[in-house]
């Protein structure tokens, strides 16, 4: 079974966002870059499927030179090889999906796995868009995945609001991972060493022959408004509770 895992490199979730007024992008100096947390679940699921059914796990990632670090990390987790679509310009989800889909097409696949969203732009689009590009069915926000490579069938549980649903679909397909799907492994030292020798194919975005003009353009980023300083209540718990209830009822009028 050939499994492609689409991986994005994003700022670590502990990053404090810094902006200058009028900026359309965050300040990136000093940022720690990591694999998108939801893509880690996707990598882990790909590895588990390979361990169970045999085959190959290929990582596909897009971005500037720094992305190679995320790729090596995915290889150290156990992926077999990788394709790096080298891209420096700003794009959008559709550009990303077109580029990734083109590489997927060239590679061939039985299954394409990625995270349910990237924690930087939070668009949650690339999985479904790749599926449309490749005319594949999709199941998103997956909590449990059962793959039957012989019957070419997938049965997945996906998260809803306060519930979940079972989706059945044929292979090949695009699956997007939600937290809870698995517990991603940490790379071991021998695997980190091995990863250094694994193949990473570098593909310039321009060589893919796709439209690279973004349709969704960020014009300006702003920070959320600061909250006024908190009313802090101290003292006896009963009194503080009574005063808090009163403030919520009479001042904020929310209870």
């Amino acid at each position: 079974m050939k499994i492609l895992v689409l991986v994005k490199q994003v700022p670590d979730t502990a990053t404090k966002i810094r902006l200058n007024p009028g900026d359309a992008a965050i300040q990136t100096d000093g940022i720690k870059w990591v694999i998108n947390p939801y893509d880690e679940f996707a990598i882990e699921e790909g590895l588990r499927l390979k361990e169970k059914h045999g085959g190959e796990v290929v990582v596909v990632s897009m971005g500037p030179a720094r992305v190679e670090e995320a790729i090596r990390q995915a290889l150290a987790m156990g992926a077999d090889r990788a394709v790096h679509i080298v891209k420096d310009a700003v794009g959008d989800s559709q550009v990303a999906a077109r580029a990734l889909a083109r590489v997927c097409q060239d590679e061939g696949y039985d299954l394409i796995v990625t995270g349910k969203q990237a924690v930087d732009d939070d668009q949650a689009q690339v999985g479904p868009l790749v599926a449309v590009e490749l005319r594949l069915p999709q199941v998103t926000v997956v909590l449990k995945l059962e793959v039957d490579p012989d019957a070419r069938k997938i049965r997945a549980e996906r998260e809803l609001e306060g519930a979940s649903e079972i989706v059945e679909l044929p292979m090949p397909a695009v699956v997007t991972a939600q937290r809870g799907l698995n517990e991603p492994r940490y790379p071991t030292l021998p695997n980190i060493m091995k990863a250094k020798k694994k193949e990473v194919k570098s593909v310039p975005l321009e060589s893919l022959g796709i439209d690279t003009e973004p349709w969704v353009v960020v014009e300006e980023l702003t920070l959320p408004p600061e909250r006024p300083a908190a009313r802090i209540l101290t003292g006896e718990p009963e009194e503080a509770a009574r005063e808090l209830a009163r403030l919520l009822h009479e001042e904020a009028k929310v209870i």
Binding site: L19, Q94, Q125, E161, E219, R227, I255
Partner: protein
């Protein structure tokens, strides 16, 4: 020039979520032309009266046998076909589990740009629609333009007011002419979760617990406060990772991003990832024994004290207020 807006919404047994009416309110304000609502499945026809009352000029109810069970590819094809038959400049979807699965698929088919999870929408100077949407889980907000001929937006629930405007809600008979046998990914079963827990992303009030709660069984104290408030229960990431509560409770950058009227952070120190996930809350109330916890900097109201004493007392006070009301 296309002037209408197509509002695509899910429904269950003839009932739509509030977000459907929120989308209609925004659509009415922004569309010079007709607002069309489109919904699917058994009971879809029963939603027509309500959709009209809250702003739909016409309603398409795809309630044929093909649409009895959700299929992302099948439903996306149907929406794309409906769009081709309508004079619309934009499509709105709810940014819930259903809409976030369907909207990108439709956007891909229509070759249109999609802005997900928008918290504000407006008419731009160039005459097109624009939106504001959170990025980095709400650590920042992006003002976005969509430059494709058609524009697609998904709207975050619980942000926009609803308006009863009593539009016609005329039935528009439309058959996309699709055969369910061609649908690939199909829902075969819906599993409802434990004990009718209120959904966090739609909750008006949330009571959330962190490490300060100390043990899984202590969540009972929070449950009692949530019960008094009619609130949903949530948690910080560490306690969900520890398995004290299900993963679905986890609020933060890699969990649920919430926007309630009031958010009670109980025994939560306030890691940056958690603060991102709650930044859309109108009021934040922090209860923590550590006066230096970062959560107090994000809060509107704070109580420094032992949560095991403060929370039960607060539940009692809330019940007393509600009894008098």
């Amino acid at each position: 020039m296309a002037e209408g807006i197509l509002v695509v919404t899910n429904q269950e047994e003839g009932r739509v979520r509030r977000v459907a009416y929120e989308m209609l309110a925004v659509a009415q304000e922004l569309a010079p032309g007709k607002v069309t609502a489109l919904t699917f499945g058994p009971g879809a026809e029963q939603t027509r009266e309500g959709l009209g009352r809250y702003g739909a000029d016409q309603v398409v109810a795809l309630n044929g046998p093909a649409y009895a069970a959700y299929s992302s590819d099948g439903f996306a094809d149907a929406v794309a076909k409906a769009t081709e038959s309508l004079d619309v400049e934009a499509l709105f979807f709810p940014a819930n589990a259903w809409g976030k699965d369907l909207a990108p698929r439709v956007a891909g088919l229509l070759k249109a740009g999609l802005a997900s999870d928008c918290t504000d929408m407006f008419r731009r100077d160039d005459g097109r629609l624009g939106a504001v949407r959170p990025v980095y889980a709400g650590k920042a907000f992006a003002r976005v333009a969509i430059q494709s001929p058609r524009q697609v937006f998904s709207l975050r629930p619980n942000i926009q007011p609803i308006k009863e405007t009593g539009r016609a809600g005329t039935a528009w008979d439309f058959d996309p002419g699709l055969d369910a046998a061609s649908f690939k990914a199909v829902v075969t079963e819906v599993l409802t979760s434990q004990g009718g827990q209120l959904e966090l992303t739609e909750a008006d009030i949330i009571v959330s617990g962190g490490r300060g709660v100390k043990a899984p069984e202590n969540f009972k104290v929070l449950e009692d406060l949530a019960d008094a408030l009619g609130a949903a229960l949530g948690s910080s990431r560490p306690v969900a990772d520890e398995g004290w509560v299900p993963h679905s409770y986890h609020i933060g950058q890699t969990g649920k991003v919430v926007s309630p009227t009031v958010y009670f952070a109980v025994g939560i120190s306030g890691a940056i990832q958690h603060l991102a996930g709650i930044s859309g809350s109108k009021y934040i109330v922090a209860i923590n024994s550590d006066a230096d916890a970062p959560i107090f900097k994000a809060a509107n109201y704070g109580v420094v004290g032992d949560l095991f004493k403060v929370v039960p007392a607060l539940a009692q006070e809330i019940r007393a207020i509600k009894k008098d009301a």
